[in-house]
Symmetry: C2
Subunit: 513 residues, 2 copies
Amino acid sequence: MEPLSSQAALDWVIDALAMELTDPASGPLSRRLYLGLRERIQAGRLAPGSRLPSSRRLARELCLGRNTVLAALEQLVAEGFLETRPGAGTFVADLPRLAGASLESGTPSEQASMPASAAPKTREVSLSSRGTRLLGYSPGPNARPGVFTPGLPALDRFPQALWQRLMRRHLHRAPTEWLGYQAQGGVPALREALCDYLRLSRSVRCRPEQILIVQGAQQGFELIARLLTDPGDRAWVEEPGYGGAKACFEAAGLELHAVPVDDEGLRVVADLPAPRLIQVTPSHQYPSGVTMTLGRRLALLEAAERHGAWIVEDDYDSEFRYGQRPIAALQGLDDGGRVLYVGTFSKVLYPGLRLGYVVLPEALVDPCRRANARLHREGQYVVQSALAEFIAAGHFSRHVRRMRDCYRERQARLRDALAPAVSAGLKLSEGQAGMHLVAWLDDHTTEAALVARGIEHDIGLSPLSTYYLTPPGRPGLVLGYAGASEEEIARAGGWLCQEWLALRAASEPDARV
Amino acid sequence: MEPLSSQAALDWVIDALAMELTDPASGPLSRRLYLGLRERIQAGRLAPGSRLPSSRRLARELCLGRNTVLAALEQLVAEGFLETRPGAGTFVADLPRLAGASLESGTPSEQASMPASAAPKTREVSLSSRGTRLLGYSPGPNARPGVFTPGLPALDRFPQALWQRLMRRHLHRAPTEWLGYQAQGGVPALREALCDYLRLSRSVRCRPEQILIVQGAQQGFELIARLLTDPGDRAWVEEPGYGGAKACFEAAGLELHAVPVDDEGLRVVADLPAPRLIQVTPSHQYPSGVTMTLGRRLALLEAAERHGAWIVEDDYDSEFRYGQRPIAALQGLDDGGRVLYVGTFSKVLYPGLRLGYVVLPEALVDPCRRANARLHREGQYVVQSALAEFIAAGHFSRHVRRMRDCYRERQARLRDALAPAVSAGLKLSEGQAGMHLVAWLDDHTTEAALVARGIEHDIGLSPLSTYYLTPPGRPGLVLGYAGASEEEIARAGGWLCQEWLALRAASEPDARV
């Protein structure tokens, strides 16, 4: 591992040496330089084989006489810490490391010379109980995106050149104070452009001041949970529902209560235990794809009012609707100031952008902005500024339209590929919106078998049952189709279709007779 | 508020209209267009006075015959929703808004037409109890940086042109997958460069794989608290200590226990209640400026081992030491794998960058990386990549050296300005490192009086007593000197000196005799 220019490594060493040399208590200069270098060679912090700067340069950098430097270097060569190679210079010798040997005397500079390679011994790890639950929602150690990864947008279709041009321009223009700590709730131009977009396209009722820019929707969930709930409070979550939000609420110490989703969305029945927080995806339920009906929305708002609970409306991908009217946000129906509307740019632009937003009820604007500035800090103002132009100049709506066509096409490819299975009884969700389809399966055995076969073929499949809080959940697969090319989708879809048909045939031998 | 190009606003409206028009259930096309436009005019989402596109363009964008469009527009003009101005085009009329009028029928498209200006009524806000405590650590609603803001670096000295060049290059080079969800723990090149830097300059013992890049040190604290503690667990915090870390631990539901800091650092005495987490700033205690002695460090490590606790070492500004050896990190002394070393680029580069890191014990690498990918997501890989080059090419160490000189100079200006007060008995901290000095005051009355006078003169002063968990705390002022120019520091320092002398004179009338 040699990622540093040896220049940078030497800079640091010289720098540290220069400071040590200012300490008059530690003897003559030549001796101090000798000790400082020896220490670092022993500790492996000057890599074996690396070339030292010339004595002339060292003398200049350390503000020492050249003879002082030469005396130290000669001593080190004599003792074997350095080697001279004729015509090439002075090099660090390849020595066995002396683990911990220099720690005993205990002076700070000698503490600093412990071998870098002596990693502390590993110990049995004891996570917290919420930490352990958290990991249950977290990707496996080797998880990586694949053809069917839900929620991954078409990165290959993102207008990179345009975006880079905007970024360059806004980098150049950025006022110096944007480098500092900010607590405005985000770049004003972005909040204004976003406000117009949300009003026009999502029927969200807000002023720009109500918008808080956060580093991704997850940060929005976290802020809300911490500011509005205490450990032990109850949160209603959709069953099935989004793991990211559930992970945040677990992390906040909340008690999760699963509320079933049917084909009209979250169903508030009479005997549910009172919540403090309610998480919903009314525009396009995640992962089932259901749109919450007006009746259910009104019932939910009424329940929130009755319980004095807050509603977190997670509107993650409603930009992508196919041949359907845009659905007005729940927030737009809320006269009680109980809805916090959370949005993200991860789907419409790209996940690595790490920008999302929360539209806050008036009463929460000041506390949320202050708590966010304290807990998370604000930043990325240049990116926010570039994004504001991207929206206001119309690139955003154009990109949404293009992606809508692209995803419609990709969904059609997936449906085509799965058509033989569908003819044989495989059920798919309606797919009138969004970036994924759900394939409902008959049993958990099939779900597990398909996931296992997927691992063999390097095709990651997301089992629907893991989206349920209460086992066993309903069996199925959540099939993202937005992030892969039509060819990849057709190929992986064809494979999945064959696997499903083969499993079906194996489980119903009579059908083949 | 008209930040959008009217082009963008129209794009969205046309877009939504186009989708509505695909629904054959809602009558003839001309009627549907008429209703769609009327709805949006009533709702104020087409601003009064804004010009409509030509009927030709509308027809093209909506894929309608021009006569269909003309029929709809003529009807709207006839009803007074639109106005034609000779030679200028067709404009949206200025109508009174019909609040809620169109909600009654309850179809989704009519829900969408609620007036944007009808903000939900505000209600009495009920924060959680931890939320209320959190706000106690949060900046006031009108807080903004001033001459003495602690922790603000010299933004005017940041090498903007160089950084922008690096950013442009890395933007251009970024692989497409960096746009997506990542779970590698950060860009490998950055973790490698950082690892070398930490080993060489901070005596941290680690491999690049142990480094987790986070969006600021605060995110590191949050991750640690959630993964390693449960609500109700106890955390030791330094008294006085850093509000940002305390806010994170409060947010995580922890019970904070203040452990006093004296002139050797945090003092572990026998009867302290067992913690699960310990937060320390051993290199340069925040805010007192004390360097923790080797004896205290070893005692702390022993206590952590005995209690089975984790230590969070917050090394926030130790790059800036004046005429002193760099102090080896506590992490480098830890053989038990109990120390999590948290660092930030907010001080060395700039706060708006939002990048920090945690060096994890081996046993925590996998769980922390997975939990972080779930809770916070990774991102900003382009910035990380640019930063890797900034470090590896030596710009980082050069910038640190320049800033060290700059801050030494700025501290000297502040000392000069306060010299008359110091001669008269004002006590200042040693200031051998970092970006702020502490002025110790004799009583809380003086502290409050100076802060109040500061507000009058638009000079923000940070009262030391607010850094204490347990009131009343020790009176004093935390005086950042890194973020303002020498002239500003001299001026504000001179003002402060006079104020202090005046208060002193007023409280000791005999002294003037």
